[in-house]
Every structure is written in C-alpha cells, then in structure tokens.
Amino acid sequence: MKIVKRRYLAVSIDSHEALGSRDFMDAVWGAVSRLFGEYGASQAGLSLIDYDETKKLVIIRTWHKTLEMVRTALASITQIGKKPVALHVLAVSGTIKALHKRLDEKPVS
C-alpha cells in the first residue's frame, strides 16, 4: 500500500487588518494556481485545518511532495482582498500534535 505523507503548516498572517478564512484560502489557491497552474494546484491537496483570527495563526495541510510548492506560493502572496499582507511559515510537521508542540516551543511573535 502506498502511504501518502501529509504535512501541516503553521502560517502567521502579518497584516494590520482582519481577514476572513475564506479570503485567506482563496488567496492561497490563487497564488498556487498562478505560479504552478491548475494542474499543479490540483496536486497540492490543500485544506484549511484551523483559523485563529485573534492570534492571526492558520494551520493548513498539504502533501509532503508539494510542500515546497505551497511554501513558495505562500511567500509570493503580497495582498489579500487589496489589503497588504505577508504570510510567514512558522513551523511544519507531519502531525497536528507535533506542530502544536513546535509552536509552543517557538511562540507566535
């Protein structure tokens, strides 16, 4: 049986304004498809796991193979809904539990 490895990314949103989870995911999908095309985006297996609006912290899931692609797409996002933003990947892990452990060691600044 082929095991597909997942990767969970903790992403901090650097923005002066509040953003909705829908807008965030639309921006991520848009960035992935602009840079890697619809074919590339279809392989990313992106999904939103958690969206903490107060901490401005998001957890998204992708596949191990497309991790670098998603990192690049996240780095290329400069605005969401005409609001200037910067997205920074704080930690990456194979399980949500380990991701939270890493975030506890390295708190969101």
Binding site: E68, R71, H88
Partner: protein, 243 residues
C-alpha cells in the same frame, strides 16, 4: 553550527530613523543575523548610527554602497573612492561595458542586473567567467518576483533561470537579497530560498545563497579592511622592535 542568515539589500532610508528601526527589528524577528543597507558615498555618521541601532537589536550590520556608473571609467573612479570605506560594493550593471568592467574588477563584490529591463541580460558566459575569477557574486533581488504579475513575471523568471544556470555553470556564488523598502514585502530567509526554486535554484544552493555566500563575502571583506591585512593569506601578527 547554526546558519547565519543574511539580507544584504534592504533598501530602507537611513534618514528616516523610525523606518530604519522598524525594518531592523522586523529583520531580527524574521531570523536574520546580518543585514546590509545601501548608503550614499559620504555618510560615515549615518553608518555609525545604523551600526549602533543594529547592535541594540542583536543584528550584525554591514555597510554597502550601490554604484550606478554609466561608463567603465566612471566605475573605476568610483571604486577608487569607495572601496576602503564600505564593506560591500555592489554595481548596478546598466550597460554591457560597465558589466564587463565590474566582473573583472576584484574590488567589486556584487553584480546586480536591474531585472524589469529584460533586454539588458548582460550576465552571459563571458561575464560569468570573469566574475568567477574575481570572486564577485551575482545578486538576485526577489522584490520584482513579489511585485510583478502575469507576462512580466513570466519573462522575469525565464531571465533569472538563465542567469542562475550560467552562474552555477561557472561557479559564481549567488546571493539572494530582498531588495525591498516596505516591511510587508520582507520575507523569512527560508521563504526567500523557496522563491528561488521558481528559477530552478533549489535546496542546498538556495539556502547557501541566503546564508553561507553573503556571510562569507562580508567576512572576507572585513578581513581585507582590517588594519592587519597585507594580502590574501598574509596578515600582521605582531608589531614592534622585538619582532
């Protein structure tokens, strides 16, 4: 040993103290340990102030000057004036003559090719060969990658891919810098390395371009600018009558 991440091209204005302090503290938060900001030719006082500000934040600061000469002669004259005063000398190569002179001059540290102008792709095999003999590095700013869109970004990526491949073929070190003045366009070192994968510079090479290559260049230049330096490999150990 822990990597020292560097951004050698933060285009903040040192006249605006608040903006500069903001950019420095942001760079520290993002994980940089070495930054460089371009100055005008006569700004000793500003450099001292910038160095002190960075020291307070725990960041190493390197002084840098960006030269934009129109002719090779102008470049030679400028280099004579600035080389001993700045830790990094970068040349914006806007003509082929300037690019060739910059690549073969040992006093030049960084070759920067203004990217939005795609017709001026001067970094070819001949240029790379000259640069590799003179320890000059190719600097790639990621700012246009973040700000451009559509066909302009496609052309930019194609251009950068060609330049990066030429640099690797001739063992010219690549330095990836942000080139930004806006805090919101600053990215973590790991993210700059990820963006480099867009022009086929991935993995170890990309990480070296934001850490090892710039740090080694600054270290080498500091040694050269030090009072004990005589020539590469030769330095003064002790002075006095008993020697």
């Amino acid at each position: 040993m822990k990597r020292v991440y560097a951004d050698l091209h933060l285009c903040t204005d040192c006249d605006r103290m608040e903006q500069f302090s903001g950019v420095v503290s942001k760079a520290s938060k993002l994980g940089y340990r070495l930054i460089a900001v371009p100055f005008r030719k006569s700004s000793e006082e500003q450099i001292r102030w910038a160095r002190e500000t960075c020291e307070k934040t725990g960041i190493d600061f390197a002084s840098r000057v960006d030269l934009r000469p129109r002719t090779p002669e102008e470049l030679i004259n400028s280099l004579r004036k600035v080389r001993r005063r700045f830790e990094i000398v970068s040349v914006m190569c806007e003509t082929k003559g300037v690019a060739r002179q910059a690549a073969k001059d040992r006093r030049v540290d960084l070759l920067n090719f203004p990217q939005p102008d795609f017709h001026r792709g001067f970094f070819d095999a001949a240029e790379a060969e000259l640069a590799s003999n003179c320890l000059a590095s190719l600097e790639i700013d990621v700012k246009p990658l973040l700000t451009l869109e559509g066909p302009a970004r496609i052309r930019l990526l194609s251009n950068l891919r060609r330049e990066a491949a030429t640099a690797r073929e001739f063992h010219v070190p690549i330095v990836i810098s942000s080139g930004v003045s806006d805090e919101m366009l600053m990215r973590r070192p790991r993210e700059l390395a990820s963006l480099a994968s867009l022009f086929d510079l991935s993995g170890v090479y990309a990480r070296e371009a934001v850490s090892k290559n710039p740090a080694a260049m600054v270290k080498r230049n500091r040694e050269k600018l030090g009072s004990k330096f005589v020539a590469p490999g030769i330095r003064i150990i002790r002075k006095g009558k008993t020697c």
